[in-house]
């Protein structure tokens, strides 16, 4: 018994270290005083964060990321919720096929989805535009929204909607007053998730972006390939912080929802 528990604790610790170590290394390097990636750093400074704040390339990239992330999160959530409702509650012919098609970006290699988008965009002139970027991000974030909202919808008792109908609620009112409020936690958490995914997205952004339309990950990518300094570590640490905040918000949301159930 004791030996098993020891072994389990050891395994958990190792897996934990394996998962967290890279993050910790990046975090430490971001505070390095050296002008190159070295671990452990010879000293500490905030110069890479200052660099980040003063470099117009990074500021532009952040601004582009935000301009993409906000409409992506909103559109992806709205469309994904509608799709989940149609797939699960509706009586669509070929719902199985449609669902599989919508979930495809999860299993199709990102590079293929991106190349496909790039080819289509070239004919309709969407490459290098914000619109094209948002559409691309919606395509790759949609499956997550559909999965999250869909599983919440599956666990929602359909008798509640039936009860609302017998009490005099037309379908639109039943949706507004019953279904949507009960799905709200899942909808909000999938919106957060879509925002984080969009903020992290690299491949689609690489393909459909341009020299002037660069998101943060694209900027990181080109930075790593060019003059490689700890600025990348600083921005990575900030990204990590954003993800952490999103996770915290999500947990908070779930707690509140848990109180209600």
């Amino acid at each position: 018994m004791g030996r098993w528990r020891l072994l389990r604790a050891l395994a958990c610790t190792l897996v934990g270290i394996y998962l967290i170590a890279p993050l910790v290394v990046v975090l430490i390097i971001s505070f390095s005083s050296a002008a190159f990636l070295r671990f452990p750093p010879p000293g500490f400074s905030l110069r890479w964060y200052a660099n980040l704040a003063n470099d117009p390339a990074w500021i532009d990239a952040t601004w582009v990321s935000i301009q993409v992330l906000v409409p992506t999160a909103v559109l992806s959530t709205a469309l994904g919720t509608a799709a989940a409702l149609a797939l699960i509650r509706g009586r669509l012919p070929g719902a199985g096929f449609l669902g599989a098609a919508l979930m495809a970006p999860l299993v199709v290699p990102g590079i293929i989805t991106s190349a496909g988008l790039y080819i289509i965009y070239r004919t309709i002139g969407l490459n290098g535009t914000l619109t094209g970027m948002v559409i691309g991000h919606v395509v790759v974030t949609l499956p997550y929204v559909i999965a999250t909202v869909g599983s919440a919808l599956r666990s929602l008792d359909p008798r509640l909607e039936a009860a609302a109908a017998t009490l005099g609620a037309p379908p639109s009112a039943a949706f507004r007053r019953i279904t949507l409020p009960l799905l709200a936690p899942a909808v909000l958490s999938s919106m957060l998730f879509a925002a984080v995914l969009s903020f992290d997205e690299l491949i689609v952004s690489l393909f459909v972006g341009s020299a002037r339309l660069r998101t943060v990950p694209v900027q990181m990518w080109s930075n790593i390939r060019g003059d490689f300094d700890p600025t990348v570590a600083a921005i990575a640490s900030l990204c990590f912080l954003v993800a952490l905040i999103a996770l915290g918000l999500e947990a908070l949301l779930r707690r509140r929802n848990g109180d209600r159930e």
Binding site: A162, A163, A164, A165, T166, L167, R260
Partner: protein, 363 residues
């Protein structure tokens, strides 16, 4: 309060519903009078819920007609049929307080705020929960949730109240208390009620009339005493109340009152089917209708049997009897009468009955 002068509030004409090739509801017709309490009673899977769902408009019949308050409602969605429905598992809205739940149907009808508030308060008082308005459903016990569901379905005074096993999930004491409460509300609010249960004693105590379902068909529809005293089919005799089923052989002329050989003894029976003498039949005799006598005060009549066991039921006694052929019958007598016959296990007895209490069915 049944008001026959108003005509039926609900009429079903030849309703059918198939799932695949299986008939869930098969040619159901009935009329529900204004103010009547009608119960669907039947075993699991007999089509009670499906019928109720079609009345509510939550499912569509394959054929047949539903007429609500004089108007066919075939194309009318549920939210336009003036009905209230109580579901088996309450179906309260988990994100709304009790008051908001009960106010929901009034909101949907555009009832002015102040009036709605007043009606909600009255409805909660009616079901005995005046102080629970600000709680969420999950903060209530099962019985309390059920009462909120009741208040919510009644607050807008629907023309027809549908209840699908509303007490199914509750324990016995709570169930009996709520049965009386529902009956009281039915009486005071003068509502027409369609009630579903598979508990025959609940059906007998609550209903003006009962429709017994089996295999998607109505086997018999009538008052509790019709069903209990004059079951139309062997299924009804067995499903409603307790019954001894006794093999017999019909004798004598054809018609209602006749005789049959029971364990070799000619006995009076009533048969509502025509059959030639010599036809085998099954008699249904209620335990409380069996008369027991000691062979000593023998007038020659009666089926001989042996008393094998005497079971104490508090207010009554159950006699377990064995016939020469080995079949066991059960007789029940009120305490006073049972003590007066002074029988003990092992004693020989004779069994007899009034002919109206032994109904013969085709074997």
């Amino acid at each position: 309060m049944i008001s026959p002068e108003l005509g039926p509030i609900l009429e079903l004409r030849g309703i059918r519903k198939h799932y695949g090739r299986h008939a869930a509801v098969d040619d159901v017709s009935l009329k529900l009078r204004h103010g009547e309490f009608l119960t669907f009673l039947g075993p699991s899977g007999s089509g009670k819920t499906t019928t109720l769902m079609m009345v509510a408009g939550l499912q569509q019949p394959d054929s047949g007609q539903i007429i609500l308050a004089g108007k066919p409602v075939d194309r009318l969605p549920p939210y336009k049929r003036d009905i209230g429905m109580v579901f088996q598992h309450y179906a309260l809205f988990p994100h709304m307080t009790v008051r908001r739940n009960v106010a929901f149907p009034l909101e949907m009808r555009g009832t002015p705020r102040a009036e709605a508030e007043r009606m909600v308060t009255a409805a909660l008082a009616m079901v005995g929960l005046p102080d629970h308005g600000d709680r969420l459903p999950r903060q209530l016990s099962g019985g309390q949730q059920q009462r909120v569901a009741l208040a919510r379905a009644m607050v807008y005074r629907p023309a027809l109240l549908l209840m699908d096993e509303p007490l199914g999930a509750l324990d016995k004491a709570l169930r009996e208390g709520l049965q009386l409460e529902i009956k009281r509300l039915h009486r005071e609010q003068r509502m027409s009620v369609l009630y579903v249960t598979h508990d025959q004693s609940e059906a007998l105590t609550m209903s003006d009339r009962i429709a017994v379902f089996d295999g998607g068909r109505i086997q018999q529809i009538g008052t509790p005493s019709d069903l209990y005293e004059r079951p139309a089919t062997r299924f009804v005799a067995g499903f409603v109340g307790e019954t001894n089923f006794v093999p017999a052989e019909l004798l004598g002329r054809e018609g209602e009152a006749r005789r049959a050989l029971v364990a070799g003894v000619p006995m009076p029976v009533s048969a509502r089917f025509l059959a030639a003498p010599g036809t085998p039949a099954v008699l249904a005799i209620r335990p409380e209708r069996l008369r027991l006598s000691a062979p000593a005060d023998d007038d020659g009549g009666g089926v001989p049997a042996e008393l094998v066991d005497l079971i104490y039921l508090g207010n009554a006694r159950r006699f377990v009897l064995r016939l020469p052929g080995g079949q066991e019958w059960s007789a029940v007598m009120q305490a006073e009468a049972a003590e007066a016959v002074m029988l003990r296990p092992g004693d020989a007895v004779r069994l007899s009955w009034n002919e109206v209490h032994a109904t013969a069915f085709p074997a």
